[in-house]
């Protein structure tokens, strides 16, 4: 039995899904079109981000509010990984703690969009936004 989403919760849910959709498209563009090889931590964040498009998208199509519950663990995991990645990128945590194998380094200065915004920060902002929007959607549903 699906739990119907309340009118007030639809918009934040939609916006959360939109963020995951744009983040996924952006990650694929950077990796597949611009040819930037994702590092190990980027891959873990992708693993958390990509399914959100489908989980939240299906929830939206069916107006199924339970998708929030299924999405939150992924969001939380991605948020933690992105935060950790940011700390490594800024040199607050040493990269040696993470086995970054062959390929791109997680602390590489190349991981920036237009030479300005570091990709890990972008990822962390996206996960934060999704988390906040889902939280808003959940609160509105309960009341």
């Amino acid at each position: 039995m699906t739990q119907r989403a309340e009118p007030g919760s639809w918009l934040p849910l939609f916006l959360a899904w939109l963020v995951t959709l744009l983040a996924t498209a952006g990650a694929l563009f950077l990796g597949e079109v611009m040819g930037k090889t994702p590092c190990v931590l980027c891959w873990y964040q992708r693993i958390a981000m990509f399914p959100l498009v489908l989980v939240l998208g299906l929830g939206l199509l069916d107006s199924d509010a339970r998708c929030i519950r299924y999405a939150l663990p992924l969001v939380l995991a991605g948020w933690c990984l992105a935060l950790y990645h940011c700390l490594i990128f800024w040199g607050i945590v040493a990269e040696g703690l993470v086995p970054c194998g062959q390929g791109a380094s997680c602390a590489d200065a190349d991981v920036q969009v237009a030479g300005l915004v570091p990709i890990p920060l972008l990822s962390w902002l996206a996960f934060t936004a999704v988390m906040a929007l889902l939280w808003v959607a959940r609160t509105r549903m309960k009341t």
Partner: protein
């Protein structure tokens, strides 16, 4: 129902934007690659002909033979009459630009002596004498390029000035530039020929003649 279309429409819009982004990015990347290639070609052209190099023949000739040349090289010596003939028989259509590729021991000294002679307008005379006497001074196991001074002594050079010029930083700089260009153009053997920028890939006198003839045809029938 309406909301379903909002979701599906948004997804479709993002997919379309993604594809458009791919097209734009590929196009821009291709343009950049073309620009990089053009710049590399331009660099090669600059490396091929420098203003400081000796030119034989009409300076405004449409076909330029660039020869990376080593005064100690027997094959350069053997090619010299042919190259000279190619220029002389072209009625001003072909010129020769000599670049130095001092790959043998003592060649650098020989080049500096020739350049000193050039400063006094005796370059081609000195070059021909130097090549004629090559068996005497350029034995590869025991090169004695200083002997060239004796070979060119009676050309009317101011020998004291020539010896000072041969040791001057300007001549040294010219030689260094030629060596750098030789490496940039990946010339590994002498003589190394380029005709209007096209390297002589299949080495030989007939092949050089053919390449010059081909370039002459190109400039005559554009």
């Amino acid at each position: 129902m309406n909301r379903k279309w909002v979701v599906l429409g948004t997804a479709a819009a993002v997919v379309v934007a993604f594809v458009a982004g791919v097209v734009v990015y590929r196009d821009r990347a291709a343009q950049q690659a073309a620009q990089v290639a053009a710049e590399a070609l331009q660099r090669d052209r600059e490396a091929l002909v420098r203003a400081h190099s000796p030119v034989f023949g009409n300076p405004a000739a449409k076909v330029t033979i660039v020869e990376f040349f080593d005064p100690s090289c027997e094959t350069c010596r053997a090619f010299y009459p042919l190259v000279k003939e190619l220029v002389n028989s072209s009625f001003g259509q072909v010129r020769l630009v000599l670049r130095y590729a001092p790959l043998h021991k003592g060649s650098d000294t020989a080049v500096k002596i020739l350049e000193a002679a050039r400063l006094q307008g005796k370059y081609w005379e000195a070059l021909e004498r130097t090549l004629a006497a090559q068996p005497q001074w350029a034995a590869h196991h025991n090169p004695q390029p200083e002997l060239i001074w004796d070979v060119i002594a009676d050309t009317g050079l101011d020998m004291a000035k020539a010896r000072a010029d041969a040791a001057s930083p300007a001549v040294d700089q010219l030689l260094r530039q030629d060596i750098a260009d030789m490496q940039a153009l990946k010339v590994k053997q002498t003589p190394g020929f380029f005709v209007n920028g096209t390297p002589l890939r299949d080495f030989g006198q007939l092949q050089l003649k053919a390449l010059v003839a081909e370039e002459l045809r190109k400039v005559k029938a554009p």
